[in-house]
Symmetry: C3
Subunit: 430 residues, 3 copies
């Protein structure tokens, strides 16, 4: 009934996963830098200080509250009965990480993975809300994600929860599979970004009346693109650690998973490069960065189970849809997502999860993937929206117009990220 | 009599420690970037070139001279007899790393750890002396640290020296314990920073006559905050490698040590965020970075031995005292430490070492910790001050006033870090 | 006849190499950042977007075409007979990485290593062509390198090709040895850089008629120097993984290899610091970065086989020749290589390969090294020049003069890396 029960790891697998998890902060550092580069210079310090604080807050809230619900496989859980089966819908682990030291080594690694994953997930909506969401609100959102939203999802998917049980209970393949966070980190993070953007609204001047949307280029292309290269190392670590922890991949499958991660990012950046070059006449650096990320995100669902050529094609497709969807979201739906995270993480994750279902050898896997995705979109998205809406009533997400005008740095920190540089403020659209 | 003798590592532990040590340069890169960001734009290139040179010089001087005194456990040593016991007070290893290739694998890893640790320690005072200490003087300080100061301390603490022998010889717990450099790297580095600042004096205009101290914000908040995220990966590596090498921690204790490192940094940044927000009305980005670092430093003494909740609380306390002490040092004691390293590394280390004594299950551990701390403050600090004072007589630490006015970059390198950017020089306090 | 056949790795060695390879992207990120910092601000976004695209393109072309020729040891190959021996001159592996999943774990790791190595090699000429080579041309060059140039060399050196067979077939030591890419990545990359610079020509204004060469300092010294620290971690990973994969080094030799890498970089930066200080009166930050890199590159040939003191001396010599050769190339040969890659990677690699021959205990090793170097200089360089010349006919390497004047960013991307910063354009030499 708990199909995802962690098998005993060999000592070799244990040290590998442990070493990999220590690389995961590179994904945090890379993503934080990408977010900052895609925002405006007048919000740069707030963006990165927010990232540091959000890592801290999400980790603390997960430690004190969330880890209880996420409950590692094999631990206690709340169950309900339906269709003749017992379903695990909420973990019931000890409070405050009690007993962490005496848990099995595998359970400890699983929790460590989740700590790093929750911090990564919490950084995603922060990028979407750049240039207008307040620090305290960003921290509150991170606290809600760490205490409730992420653990719920992680429990369902990774710790033998009901989505993982779809395989055993309903013969749907191996149950919903999310080896390295395509759903639990990225799709969830993208949805949180969408909710934040819906509630906070677009930046001032982004969608002027009776005119096209204003292009607001990121203030530092180097941060964006360098962040992508740094994130690659972090993603490789997440993908391989996840494959061992949540898919029980044998060690011999891991070089292939690493190669697929690399191929997926490579295919994606090449495709976005080509698409934007064809569409706009010149390649677009920010969109290429988003494409690269989408390729990495898609690989988080597929790296461990596909062939290299499939990995490459998954990346190519991710790289094709990313620039198109960013444009649709911005122009057709009037979503102002400075970081492009809703597309890169949300849609990239969605695509990876579907591809994993299509390419899986097990019968019924695609159905399991669809159930998981439907749950995220149908249950988690409304829940997230409701929770963040509630947060907004207590701690308004959006800065007041005056603060937005002078910039988040000056307003919230009293000083900018670049006090000695002369900044040229193109304020035509303000 | 040599209680810290390295036990034979299993092959699994060996490859883990080796892989971890290769992550340690991320701590160097992160710290160097933090130092640069906290300095002024007119010293940025000098700061980072200095960091590269200081890594080089400290590594070379440790290789040619220092490693002999640091002498790895089980190697030859100079001893003295007191109170009926033999005390090891100075290593007597081979010169020039002779026999490195035939030493035990554990001894090799121990030395590799020390090479990375000495480079990290040498970067700390460089940050404190930012904007006025000359490149050659910085290198000389690094050479003294690598050849004499660090190895002395490392030998006493990690290689079965007399501080480590306090347990066996005097039944003080397990002897002075410093699993990952809270004393030997950070407290020592902070003291070296203090000595450098004392000798070099404050930056011009920092403490104007009859007025409050001038705020001199770091020139690039992004470098500071991004450096913090990068440093996290390096710290995780140091903490886990140190736990295995110097505390003989079983592999199963390592996920907990990693989690504690993360929790300590998280608690610290959250606490500093809250304290500075309450105190100044707005959170302070530089102080939050210092808080984060202090949390990491405190974890270097405690990560391997405490529970997660204890790790979090240790971080919270580090994060509370950091902003207060930075202010005290600056306003009450008129210490001009641009990087805040004296507090973040020095006081963070102090706090971690005490916490490790308080929370240790062994009787007498707190006394052992106090003896170690007293030795550092009472013996090492005067020694360091004397040595650096001597250096200053031969190679003046401080640049001449004209050099300080035009900036270290132009004065020492003939050009700035940002030759194409327009820099706004707020020179009101110069 | 296939002397380099990969021996079966123990599971411990397997996980170590795998973990190390996941660190290798740090070398990519560091090198890309160095390249960008050494270029001008008006080309910064193009430089880093190009790096991302070049990683993608080289990986894809190697996956689809090159890997076939590189063919891992023990795989099928085309052979010719000469002097009574069978010589392997071209791999004949399956197309499109077919059978990757069923190859031996060692063969998989070997290919993964080569994927990361080809991306690193492809970044090198991109730095040399900075500020004037077009994105599409840079991608075309990367495609040629990934599909043909690199795999040819990798097959000869690492996969039991004829250069590796020199030992078995002609009793020349252990055959040509290149443990971590000093030849296959760095010397080859440096030669590709030379070919690109020859074909594309110098930047406008670099060599004015009847006057000295114009100094064009890199636009961001911090990127350059921070990139060096980051690259250290990546290099450690490459050197140790290569030692296991291509030299069958026992695990116990690896701490020494890591130490040598660190000592070589340290010696090199100290030497370049001293040389430039003596020569120009002030140390030169860019040249010190190049010296550091040259030390790392030299260690890629020697780290696994020398003593620590030898490693230090190898670095010192690399650091002495680097600034001198950069000057010779620029002033005497009128080579405009903004990144200094031809010297740092090319000459650094050359020096390391020779040192490895001199210091090797096997008889004939120096001759084998010379044959390998002669092959690279005499065969690979003309081939590369011819191929790139051909590329240039189809996709001109060099931007048109108007594009160069306004900067690569504006010309190729339609916007700069720093849209909100005021850039000071010293165009006296334009």
């Amino acid at each position: 009934m708990t199909p995802n029960l962690l098998p005993a790891l060999t000592e070799t697998a244990f040290v590998l996963v442990l070493a990999l998890l220590l690389l995961a902060p590179l994904a945090l550092a890379g993503l934080a830098l990408i977010n900052t580069g895609l925002g405006r210079s007048r919000s740069a310090a707030q963006s990165l200080l927010g990232s540091l604080a959000i890592v801290g807050v999400s980790v603390i809230s997960f430690a004190l509250v969330g880890a209880t619900f996420a409950s590692s496989a094999g631990g206690a859980s709340h169950t309900f009965h339906m269709a003749g089966n017992a379903w695990n819908w909420l973990g019931a682990g000890p409070l405050f990480l009690g007993g962490f030291g005496t848990a099995s080594a595998q359970a400890q690694l699983g929790l460590l993975f989740q700590f790093l994953a929750v911090a990564l997930a919490a950084l995603i909506p922060w990028g979407s809300g750049a240039d207008r969401v307040r620090l305290m609100a960003g921290c509150a959102v991170a606290a809600v994600m760490g205490a409730l939203v992420f653990p719920l999802m992680a429990g369902w998917v990774w710790s033998g929860g009901w989505l993982a049980q779809l395989g055993v209970n309903f013969s749907l393949g191996s149950g919903f599979q999310d080896p390295a966070g395509a759903a639990t980190v990225h799709l969830l993070g993208g949805m949180c970004g969408l909710a934040v953007v819906w509630i906070a609204g677009p930046r001032k001047g982004k969608f002027p009346q009776g005119a096209f949307a204003t292009a607001m280029p990121g203030h530092n292309a180097n941060y964006i693109l360098f962040g992508c290269l740094l994130a690659l190392a972090g993603w490789l670590a997440f993908n391989l650690a996840g494959a061992v922890l949540w898919m029980h991949a044998p060690l011999s499958a891991l070089p292939g998973a690493a190669l697929n991660t690399l191929l997926s990012a490579s295919g994606a950046v090449a495709a976005t490069f080509a698409v934007t070059r064809i569409r706009f006449g010149k390649p677009d650096a920010s969109l290429c960065a988003n494409g690269w990320l989408a390729g990495l995100v898609a690989s988080s669902a597929t790296a461990g189970i596909v062939t290299p050529v499939q990995g490459l094609v998954i990346g190519l497709i991710a790289g094709i849809i990313t620039p198109l969807l960013v444009e649709v979201l911005e122009l057709a739906v009037a979503i102002d997502d400075p970081s492009g995270a809703i597309t890169a993480h949300g849609v990239g994750g969605l695509w990876g999860l579907i591809a994993a279902g299509v390419l899986a050898p097990q019968a019924g896997q695609l159905v399991a993937q669809r159930v998981g995705i439907a749950t995220l979109l149908g249950r988690a998205l409304p829940l997230v929206y409701l929770l963040f809406w509630r947060v907004d009533r207590i701690i308004p997400l959006r800065v007041d117009p005056d603060g937005e005008r002078i910039g988040m740095d000056l307003h919230e920190l009293g000083g900018g990220a670049y006090p000695e540089f002369v900044i040229h403020r193109d304020d035509s659209y303000r």
